[in-house]
Symmetry: C2
Subunit: 260 residues, 2 copies
């Protein structure tokens, strides 16, 4: 997909444009590209790298390849020498960590952390937030964590919590998107379900056919009717499906008459 000529506008007004992703000392150009893609899928576009191992990483071929349709995010990204510079205009920064630390911050599970960010940033026009991730190998230093207002931890398998950097960013960006109220999925294609009158017509037809076929237990006709109503109500049938089944019933009835 070709990069968009202008920043995405569909999320305008959500506040997501005020949430920055900060990568401290990323090592792998591919990860930086994958982070850009993960961000953009969730409506985040502001990427800052702190002292990346490769100073030219934003132009690196692998970064651009893995960014896919999000090369515009790489194009707008900034590189700064220290975390302080990345957070200078931030009001609320979340430090992402995967290990317990002896620190004076409480640790919030990702979803609660995203809710806190939305409350501090999303609710205040002009406020800026940041999601801060450490290097692939070492994570964040305690000094870096101390520059953040809260610590976020992604719930994970305690036996193997080793998320790839871009996958961690994907989860964080997703939860932030939802916390900012931009988590709607498009309404499903309008589908025509039958109304109760049409459903009742079908159920009557079914019961008549079952009676004629001597399938229906005369001792408990209600049980059949009840179960069938429950099944086909739950299935929310479409008109074409009702038509097909009624056609089948009619054909079966006709062949019964022929046989008898």
């Amino acid at each position: 997909m070709a990069p968009l000529a202008s920043p995405p506008a569909a999320d305008a007004g959500s506040g997501l444009d005020r949430v920055r992703v900060v990568l401290v000392s990323p090592s792998h150009p591919g990860n930086v590209g994958s982070v850009a893609r993960a961000m953009k899928t969730m409506g985040l576009t502001d990427l800052v790298l702190v002292a990346p191992r490769d100073a030219e990483v934003l132009e690196h071929a692998e970064a651009r390849a893995l960014a896919s349709g999000a090369t515009d995010v790489l194009g707008r990204a900034r590189i700064v020498p220290a975390l302080a510079g990345a957070l200078a205009d931030a009001h609320f920064a979340l430090a992402f960590t995967s290990r317990r630390r002896e620190l004076s911050h409480g640790v919030l599970a990702l979803r609660d952390a995203a809710a806190a960010l939305a409350a501090e940033v999303g609710a205040h026009p002009g406020a800026h937030g940041a999601l801060v991730f450490g290097s692939e190998t070492y994570g964040l230093s305690n000094e870096d964590v101390d520059r953040c207002q809260a610590i976020a931890m992604i719930p994970a398998n305690p036996d193997y919590a080793s998320l790839n950097l871009s996958h961690a960013v994907q989860l964080a960006a997703y939860e932030v998107r939802l916390a900012f109220g931009a988590g709607q999925v498009p309404a499903s294609a309008s589908r025509e379900a039958v109304d109760v009158r049409a459903l009742d017509g079908f159920l009557d037809h079914l019961e008549r056919a079952a009676t004629d076929a001597r399938f229906l237990d005369p001792a408990s006709p209600k049980r059949f009717a009840t179960r069938m109503r429950r099944l086909f109500t739950r299935a929310r049938m479409e008109p074409e499906e009702v038509a097909i089944l009624r056609g089948l019933l009619a054909a079966l009835e006709a062949s019964q008459r022929k046989d008898s």
Copy 2:
């Protein structure tokens, strides 16, 4: 990290071992490896590939490299020729799609879809669930979607909803983990906050110092005390921090006395 010798046990009893990830016609070995890693971080270990482009993909060097510590998931994965084989023992399968379809299923946002899966599978011992993803290029066919009980859509930027396959699996596995009640993060390192008596001692000290320094407005002493109590209560101070600040106050008081 070396692969574990045995399946992870930390999530035993959660039901996550009854949720399978199915990849239909994956093209890129690296994606298959990244999917294995994403799964294992969330406690999923059952991977089935339907007609992958490369029949040897599970042994592919790139797949194994990107699986990182989850090569055991690749080692246990199965390859089947058609989706029906991957779902033969499944009670509830979620089809992941990123586009609106003219289909008779309703589309659930990911979180609701994960809750539905947990209700259908997590709550019934012995039931199996599946998360079904299409190929990187084409997604799932309508025929494949028709084999699933519900359709899940990941909320995304409407201008750019192109998630990488393994990133989509990461989000789905995360939501399933939480829906299965395995989303706890480890309690933060026990931290010693001061009790109210210690806090009050500090606040009294602070107010005394402010009075002595003629900083405190005699007309509204309560305002200072109120704001300081609010600030330092919220900060949940540790004993060492209180000790440092009281030491500073004492030093400032001593130098005041010297000056005056």
